[in-house]
Structures are given as structure tokens and as C-alpha cells.
Amino acid sequence: MSLITSDMTVLDIVAKWESTQGIFQRYDTLAGECICCNALFDSLEKMAEKYSLDLDALLNDLETATSS
């Protein structure tokens, strides 16, 4: 069962799972800017749409980070 869902905000996630910060930093390059600076209060879904990111891949990477 997924712990992280697309309606959670970036802040919800990094506050609960510190290890996910590294994932967002990896995606900064694709986003073209610092996600945690500019989309901290956005839901994952909204943030992924904003930066044209692959939401499923992002969710998968975040899930992996929370379980490692």
C-alpha cells in the first residue's frame, strides 16, 4: 500500500520522510529550479504538472526512498 499519494504536498512528504529530500533534489534538474523552494506547498500532482514531470516515476522514487 502506498504511503505517499499524489494529493500530498511536498512539505507533507519531506516533513514526514527526511530521506525524500534527496529525491526532490534529483528532480530539480528536470524541473529547472529548486522544487522545495518554489513548490513546497503544492501537491505532488500539481507540482508534477507544473514542471511536466512523470508523476508515476516520482511517486515510485519517493516510495523507494521511504522504504530504504
Binding site: T9, A15, C34, L40, K46
Partner: protein
């Protein structure tokens, strides 16, 4: 209880996380957070505002001190971590449109300034007819003057606020006109809040 956090040298999301942890564990009535980058200042301000604090920011261009005061009686944990102004009432308005009206001048149209001002006053007075579809009224540039003491439509805007419309007033604009202390209605806001709210709105009307 007063808490001071030195978050200089920390990149996002660390300043917000430190602020959140302090609020969650100590529930302070006053908090002071010092940061040294614009993104951290914006995010900490938004987070504190959403957490029920009245926020003021003092900056020298390099370092910003964000002061938050929370009135007695505030019940923590009633909000989400989505600080989009009005997010908490989204469910209440689920069956309605979310219309944002942005007013950026004292007059509607060009050609005759006196007529334009009359039209704008009439427009603001008539806004209530949008009913529950009117979600946010954003005042920027000289539009912020409608939110200060002596504004001919101050009572109309206050009525809208009482009816649940979120009134956002540009803080940079109030400071520019040196009327920050004269504001009588609405929440002092920043461009990040405005842009975020625009994304959420179903319709944005610019005047």
C-alpha cells in the same frame, strides 16, 4: 512562549521544517525566524500565516527576520500544510466556481479617468452579486488603496470578507505607497501567494 530560530545558511525546505517542528512541539505564541534567502523568507512567511500567526517581515536585503504572533485561543492542527489562501474552505465551495478577481488600478478602462473611477466603485459594489462563486479578491498596484482607511468602498470589501471572500492585498504595493499601516481589510500577501491562487482558481478576472 517565544521561540527564536536561526535558519541562516539553510536551504529550503530546512527553514520551514525547523519552524514546523518548533510549532508542533512547543506551540509558541511568538516565533522569530531568521533566514538569508528569499525563498526561505517567502516559504516561512506562508507557513506561519497558515499556522495562524500574524506575520511581519523585516529585511535588510540580505537577512530577513520573520516575526509571527499567534493570538491566544488558536487551536493548532486545524489546517493542512496547503497554505494557499482559502484552501481550507475549498470543500465548502466544491459545488461552486472559484473566481478570482484581481484589481490593479483605481479605474476601469481608459478615456476618462473620472468615469473610470466611477465604474470601478460600481464594479466593487456589485461584486457581491457573484455570490459564492466569488472566491478571492486580489488588490495590487493602486488597487490596494481600496483596502485602506477612507476608501469609498472599504465597507463593501469588508462585507465581502465577512461573507467568506478572501481578500488579498499586495504587501509590496502597500509598502510602495507607504500605506501599510492604513490597511483596514484583507490579508497582506505576496506574489507567490497570488500566483499560487491563480493556478487554483477556475477563473481569473483582471481589471
Amino acid at each position: 512562549m517565544t521561540i527564536s530560530i536561526d535558519a541562516k545558511g539553510l536551504a529550503c525546505p530546512a527553514p520551514v521544517l525547523r519552524t514546523k517542528e518548533a510549532i508542533d512541539t512547543q506551540s509558541p505564541g511568538h516565533i522569530s525566524v531568521t533566514v538569508d534567502n528569499d525563498a526561505a523568507a517567502e516559504n516561512v512567511s506562508r507557513f506561519l500565516t497558515h499556522s495562524g500567526f500574524e506575520v511581519s517581515v523585516d529585511t535588510d536585503g540580505k537577512t530577513s527576520v520573520i516575526e509571527g504572533n499567534r493570538p491566544d485561543g488558536y487551536v493548532p492542527g486545524q489546517g493542512s500544510t496547503d497554505p494557499t489562501p482559502g484552501a481550507d474552505s475549498d470543500m465548502d465551495r466544491a459545488e461552486h466556481q472559484k473566481i478570482m478577481v484581481m484589481i490593479a488600478s483605481q479605474a476601469i478602462g481608459t478615456g476618462d479617468d473620472i468615469l473610470g473611477e466611477k465604474l470601478m466603485l460600481s464594479f466593487i459594489t456589485t461584486l457581491k452579486e457573484m455570490g459564492d462563486d466569488l472566491w478571492q479578491l486580489v488588490l495590487v498596484n493602486s488597487g490596494v488603496k481600496f483596502a485602506i482607511e477612507g476608501s469609498p468602498v472599504l465597507d463593501k470589501i469588508q462585507e465581502l470578507e465577512e461573507q467568506g471572500v478572501h481578500i488579498l492585498v499586495c504587501g509590496t504595493c502597500l509598502t510602495h505607497f507607504d500605506i501599510l499601516d492604513q490597511k483596514k481589510v484583507g490579508e497582506t500577501t505576496n506574489m507567490l501567494d497570488i500566483v499560487t491562487a491563480m493556478q487554483v482558481a477556475h477563473k481569473v478576472i483582471n481589471l
